[in-house]
Point group: D2
């Protein structure tokens, strides 16, 4: 049974670390494999073709990969004659004819990605393929269409209903924990002892979303500190000699770090669901928790301010120019102006972190100076950090106000600061 | 935190059997929920809307559901103005403009289904929703477009790479085993004792595909008998007083029943992958197995023959008209003619089971009379059954010959029978 | 590596159903294996000897097994000379010398059982071996000592701390559910549909204790009905057309059946721990539950009464002699006298079910006539059943009163009945 | 239901890290709890007593614990009158009377340990209690009897048949991996990166035994290197910049480190079973492996040699006295003499590692100088290490020869060295 033993050989080889060394060929060979995959092959041999294509792709250099992406974008397109027919048959209001256009106009690249995904374990590899594509995209905007195909499929495959939330703790397998260390993007984890505190201390929690096709790869995770007060600085949370508290004594859950793990999933939004589900989990575990709040960076503050925008007063500008940077009070005032008033052309908050939490329905609650004294923190925002408050009864209204009218909900304290 | 406690309430209520009794409203209320879901809501409240919509949908009568499907098909369509613009910008050969048409022409029904799927456990419910749609479709061909949307999304979500194969045996949870009893479509399972034989006897195997979002719902399963000869009748396989053999003594694996479990997944093909993966699993477990063969029904034989098609000789027709039906020899000869020569307009085999196995690369190996003496077997094919042979070295060539030229590979014995 | 490949062969063979057919030899060959096992062998070959010994034992007839038990009891004894020395060195009050006697006097049979247990999966087989021994014991009281050895070891191995409680429901593997059907000793389970009600109806629970070395073999299980009243008859609980209630509406948990599963664990008590742990589980899941009560048979009532004991009045005796048996009132009164006053020589309750629950601290709460109209129920107790009440605040005092003074706690109603 | 809610409270409190702070009392209070536990309590309240006793014990200082052990040893003894009666009834050859002596002479300390073990999670705590006892024992030989009780029970509870083998790799939970780092007793693991090599490199394996009542606590583990040659030095195995090989290319499995993890299990032997089971696992995974060998330290060599025993020649003694220690050749020769000829009074090998492997049936295969240049290695054996060979066909004979006649099987090379 050559064919089926081929399949079982295949499985065996996949299991072995070494087998990919057999993959070879240049970008144009790989493109041939892609085209064969789109042709009319038997499913078993199609599976083998897909596996070879993935293996070979992964041996390519960035420039070979870019070359390949261009070939896909250019050649895996539509049947123009069929599309012309479908267009000709369409009249506005004819839903069925419009649907026919939709399916006729589907670029072959979508089917290519779906067929590659048939290989066991392919999903994670396709996510990496898109990360490569995003790299190539920086120099070649013409790849945007192909990237949209990846994003569209991933949005469907990584649908909220397919994800599972898991608590990460000291019983979690080491390979997953190692990825947490690697992916932490906000407040670096300095090795296993630091990690142990963040996942295993009684007053710490870490939750992540996973997709069943990538069971060892977290998609996004959030780190939570359980406290008795709303914190004003990150050091109090992450330093190793802090006092631990009994989690049943905590009144406040602080989301102090949210990290997306997969570059290749850019544009697929998980954070909003994650925060809300973690709130629900924590409320169920610890009914004493009353306040849900972030301790967040303000990554765009300093860059914005140093461009001397019109929103700043002469006093603000003088503060910025001071030898040691702005004083604590100055920094907080400038931050308040930035967060409340600096906007993108479409009217949303300029700061990406602010945009994320405000869009989720949080309110801008407090602004702290000297809150993040790391090199990063000073460079981004003179050390300023912010609490966004997730206040149940008003989340929906906050979200609506921001989504429809770009209205930012902020505490009186912050509003006063900005004046 | 009203909103997040709402979420946790929600989870709690979902866990409880009873909560759906609160769902109420008629089809037009449900459609309002669908439209709210497509609008610009916060994600948490969108989740609640989706859950209410699903709950309410499930309380409707078939005619209410049909009414609702018509509303979706008619009103969840495209933005005609935007589509006109995209069409205007398109010239043949412009892949990007074609892609823009594709995304602009996407019917809103696709996004509706994706948003409904965000609810935990929704995937199985959407599969059932499509089963309802298929029911409504019989009387209303205009729903075909909406059905194509479901089929398109399901083909993407139930991609081979997302499925897992599991062996079903006597350690399998009872709720899954109960579904096997229910879904067996070919040779009825008469209760738990009969099931026990089919999954727990040493010379029997049952494998199924599952999707991680539906962990207790098999999608398709195949039943295998391990034997020392190619069987000529089904009774030898399923009767309870047969001799069991030591599986390491078996040389032949017989696929004697393949059942699709989910009506709502019609058109999504799993069987080809399942058979090939089961061959690989069995080869790895039992290296003595040399022959992989089916024992399959011929469901269309009698209906076809009784329509007196031109392919039949006067002798065949006389045999059909005989008081007791055709003799064994006559039945086998007529079956051979049917399987080799009766074709659909597009040239493929008329018999659906033949079409499935030939399309997978199997060969038509043997034809047996008096092989299925059940009422079903007599009514469908005068008791005739067939062995299709999955012969490794020739599978790919068989598949290609059938896929491209509708050429049916058959043993000399069968070809001689048909002459 | 003959030896270690021997080990791996061994494992392989164990995995195969068929391999035990190789075991052969009569009881005296098996005894030779037992003696080799007690000798000074290498551990790997000792493991093989143990495996052969178990395999061979299981091929023996009951009379061969009995013969073997006698040989063990007679010949696997102590070193009399060493014991004499240890005794000679002992003076009352010398704890160390007493300990030396203890270890010197240990019968070799204990070590034999421990060595047999080294074989993977042996624990369940040793439990069955003791069941065989209990059978042989009926005709041969001289085996009591050997049985005490088994009981002593099992009490240590099946220590409460090693057991795990599991809820049995419709997600439980079929092989375990099948054992529940088999082992139910009180109210027969009529097949899988009946079982499904008892484990999967929303107002039913079934909990069992397991030992990690016997993961598919329940040791004991209890069936619970969640109700709104204390039930007066078993039929209302087990009949298939009863009304189901929402478990959150239940106020009362009824333990209506407790079954020990392993004959070979006779004398090892699990029921007391199980009931109390199930109460704790149910309280945690369903805080509305306020009353924990049994619905129990009175197996010894009729046999006792028909022996015309002095405790019965002439009226009682006349009632017993009535053509249709005693009236409802008569039966309840006689049952009350039996349960409150009939005692074993050592002063404990004569009825074994009463003794079990009273010893656990329950109170005798209510007595119902016409409560179990099955053949068993009529034959044992004219259909009488009893509620024992597990009332938290008084459990400890009830237990102490019964344990130290054989005082039976009963409700005023029952006490009045008995007068 | 005060009592059962007490039980559930208890469970809840156990789950919480903090609850043990409530334990208090001095050693004599704890002894009172022990005595209450041995008295006639209800089982539920007995469970509470046991839990309090364990909690309180763990708050004690070493000297309080020692005091408590003395009280147990002295006061939890036997019923002298009953023992005298049992002795009086005994005549040599009366197996039943001897058995009665055995059970009558059982020290109460055994029952105390069994009752403490009823508490969920108690087994690990009792193992730690014995570790404390072993500490106290160093200064108080009179505790030996009590220690024998622990050892006796643990030998029964940690019976081979109850253990499970697990491969430890990079998917293993971090809390278990952390224990591997802590417990490695032979070649220190320098943090997580070093650990990662030892468990996750393709040519490395680590296997451990676990007991189901201590699922996160390894009992013993062995580290294996897969190589193409028998190694002559430890550095080639543990250094981080070594070449990794494909495991299917390996011919040799090297057991380079075996560590017992639980001080409290001293005297309970697991290593022999573990090595043999790991050989079986490896043979099944990698059929190319032909040679199973250790790379072992010689911990007693230098201490023995520096005591100038008669077995050494004047040349040996001169070599020992050399300024830089013995030359490579001298060290190997002296080691050969030590390993082959240095014996304990009872005739067994003086070196504990040699005794372990020879007792398991291994042969003394090769002796390497400059094989362990760590401080430990130089201090113990001038850097000498040894290969013991597990050669299948001769294991059983080797074991017998050593067990019965203290005969050490060695290669011709080693024997020649020693002459």
């Amino acid at each position: 049974m050559a064919n089926s033993s081929f399949l079982s050989d295949l499985m065996a080889r996949v299991a072995q670390a070494g087998w990919r060394r057999h993959a070879r060929g240049d970008a144009s060979d790989t493109f041939d494999l892609f085209q064969r995959l789109l042709g009319d092959e038997g499913e078993a041999s199609g599976l083998v073709t897909a596996m070879q294509a993935l293996d070979q792709f992964e041996t390519h250099s960035p420039s070979e990969k870019a070359q390949l992406f261009h070939k896909i974008a250019g050649e895996c397109s539509v049947d123009d004659a069929a599309l012309a027919d479908a267009i000709a048959a369409y009249r506005p209001g004819d839903a069925e004819a419009a649907r026919r256009i939709h399916y006729t106009a589907e670029p072959q690249s979508l089917e290519l990605i779906r067929r590659l995904n048939r290989v066991p374990g392919a999903t994670a590899r396709l996510v990496n393929m898109r990360a490569d594509l995003l790299g190539a995209l920086r120099d070649a905007p013409s790849l945007k269409g192909l990237d949209a195909d990846f994003e569209h499929l991933f949005a469907s495959w990584f649908n909220r209903g397919f994800l599972e939330i898991r608590r990460i703790d000291w019983h979690t397998p080491a390979d997953i924990l190692e990825k947490i260390i690697t992916y932490e993007a906000v407040h670096e984890i300095n090795g296993w002892d630091d990690l142990r505190q963040r996942v295993a201390d009684p007053d710490r929690r870490l939750f992540a979303f996973f997709h069943p096709a990538m069971p060892s790869d977290p998609l996004i995770f959030v780190e939570v500190a359980l406290t008795r007060v709303i914190p004003a600085a990150i050091d109090a949370i992450i330093r190793s000699d802090r006092d631990r508290i009994d989690p049943t004594d905590a009144t406040t859950a602080v989301f102090y770090s949210i990290s997306n793990c997969q570059k290749g999933l850019r544009g697929i939004s998980f954070g909003n669901f994650l925060i809300k589900q973690v709130v629900a989990e924590l409320q169920s575990e610890l009914p004493n928790l009353k306040t849900f709040v972030t301790l967040s960076p303000v990554p765009g503050l300093r860059k914005w301010a140093e461009a001397r925008p019109d929103l700043l007063t002469p006093g603000d500008l003088a503060a910025i120019d001071a030898a040691d940077g702005p004083s604590f009070d100055d920094a907080r005032r400038i931050a308040a102006r930035y967060l409340l008033h600096a906007r993108r052309p479409q009217g949303t908050a300029m700061d990406p972190v602010a945009h994320f939490h405000l869009g989720n329905g949080a309110a801008l609650h407090r602004i702290h100076a000297a809150a993040d004294l790391s090199a990063n923190g000073r460079a981004g925002s003179w050390g300023v950090m912010v609490n966004y408050l997730y206040d149940g009864p008003s989340i929906e209204a906050n979200h609506q106000a921001y989504a429809t009218a770009h209205k930012i909900t902020a505490s009186a304290e912050v509003r006063k600061l900005a004046d």
